[in-house]
Amino acid sequence: MQKKHLVLGAAFAALIGGVFVPPPAQAQDTIYIPLFTYRTGPFAGSGIPIANGMADYLNMLNERDGGIGGVKLQVEECETGYDTKKGVECYESVKSKKPVVINPYSTGITLQLIPKAAVDKIPVLSMAYGLSASADGTNFPWVFNPPVTYWDGASVFVKYAAQKEGGFDKLKGKKLGLVHLDAPYGKEPIPLLEALAKEYGFELKLYPVPASEMQNQSSLWLNVRRDRPDWIYLQGWGAMNPTAVKEAAKINFPMDRLIGVWWSGGDDDARPAGDGAKGYSSLDFHAVGTDFPVIKDIQKYVVDKGKSQVQKEKVGENLYNRGVYNSMLVAEAIRTAQQLTGKKVVTGEDVRRGLEQLNITEDRLKEMGAAGFAAPVRTSCTDHNGHHKVFMATWDGTKWVKSSDWMEPIKDKVRPLIESAAKTYVESNAGWPKRTEPCDKSS
């Protein structure tokens, strides 16, 4: 009996001790960067390589350069499982640690954090995802989504289809389909595609995939077989992507007419379909492979030293490099903030200015060891995206290969729609704060 009490007492003491142990104090000489990741759950297939890429680049900066501007980066992951509720919990748990930027890595989570960003003075970087309208810096001073929005991506898809058909006028009467995850992320390009359908006279067919049916899409693809769309744009995520590619191959849909958004272009999205996926293309805005000094440094300072969770052979895959690219933008924003403020240990407010002043030129890419890895990126006070160019990558059966030149989004159609959508967002959210943050000079 006594022994039992002792054990219970020890367990209670451990519990109390655990509860009351003070959290480690935020070191004053570090920059805190939380990464919202998902290494578990149905979307882990897409989440793991991105999480590895993001963490490895930042850790490489710590190992190679001692951080940024001599200040160490404190990188911490929070597991969201791609679940919006868990993502908001992650945000609430990290915000007291004074993060300089939040990477939600989910459009659903981003939508929840947009109203909080201005209040908590923590910028949100939704790199090529999130709310397209948040590219409008005038109404969303705390939200950034470079280098392209979903609307830019969808416009490039339409432009590519038009090129292949022989011009925009040839789109009249054609059917363009959107196979999308039935979630905020998947639905995001619909307004733009509807507007372009009206403009160019094509018929837009929507094929939503509920999350519970990600691996059970056969009836959806029978609908595709019946409707016979001329082109399909795939906006899928996680297990939905490989299933969609397999099903498309199964109904003999021409693979060169199936185009994925950049999030549908993971190696594990195409690989399970084997030869059937040959010719499937997805949009992209950075290179794959390891033939870049920046990736070599990651291998040297992080992966080879056993400080990464990545399997060595997966370094350089598309979604891994996507994570690296995301962290490159974060690092450049911090560096820019340090230059703007003259401070070494910058805050979220400083990094917001840094994100607004991003100017990653060809020369700067070269300095970063990323010449040819990506295109230059520039943002401004009013344009938090830049609407940069993308290219087409095609699956050759074993890897992604760049298969087109860089293509401009249809900016003259996208930008007015973004500004109009931003205005609508502000009007429908009563009390949305007017921008008070001054623009830096070069913006």
């Binding site: 149905p42 939503p208 509920p210 519970s212 049916e213 029978l222 297990a239 299933t243 399970p272």
Partner: protein, 318 residues
Amino acid sequence: MDVLHHIFVDPFVQMAQAPDLLVQTLWEGLVGGILYALIALGFVLIFKASGVFNFAQGIMVVFAALTLVGLHEKGVPAYLALALTILVMFGLAFSVERLMLRPLVNQPDIILFMATFGLTYFLIGLGELIFGGEPKVMIASELGLPKGSIDLNMLGGFISLQKIDIAATIIASVMVVSLAVFFQKTRIGRALRAVADSHKAALSVGISLEQIWVIVWFTAGIVALATGIMWGARSEVSFALQIIALKALPVLILGGFTSIPGAIVGGLIIGIGEKLGEFYWGPLLGSGIESWLAYFIALLFLLFRPQGLFGERIIERI
């Protein structure tokens, strides 16, 4: 009037105009339905033996498939990996009986149900710890499962039958029939039915509860492995597969939680019903209705047969 036309006339006109698509839809429904029936059978067996709805059946599908692929990735030949996976599923059944069911004997059913929740999250964590969260490609060809398709030009169009789907249908059908016969006609089957009727009465005639529990959990593990192989080959092996297993819920509502024939017929009705519904009526509602249509069909049946198609009718006199 237009709406009524779209609901009651258009779909049937489409069926008549494109019979190849109708047959293709029925085929897809049949394949899905048989796999649902197989999953539902796993639930029914455990429910009959221990009166508990096994929430962990979905993760057992993932765990079994990951074990198989994971072992093969470590260099174990495919058939040996299959044999070892069966052994692992036996180990799991044995552990569940020893560590979960036995200590909870005589506890209310809801406690056992909650324990299967615990088992689910334990297996998710264990699976991720051992195999990681990355999706894996099912070793279908290594296991001798066929690839490619048979395309038939008929009915004014074509019908494409994936060889893996044909194999899945045959294997699942054989398993379903074998299990049904095993549990209806053999001594163990009779013991299972006795346990399902009354634990105390079964014990009094010398039936070992522990042995029956191990057998049904092991059988549910084999069912999970077969489902994981088939569905994994159609898509990929990832933790998303556990969602598929929960598609068996409407099958159980429809077929009754205690009926093996109910699981089979229910699986087919749900499988074919949801495919026909999504294909012919889905576009009227913006598509993507498959996720709830199965429940709607099940509830519709319950209006007329509250105990399910083959469920036991319980009459309690007061």
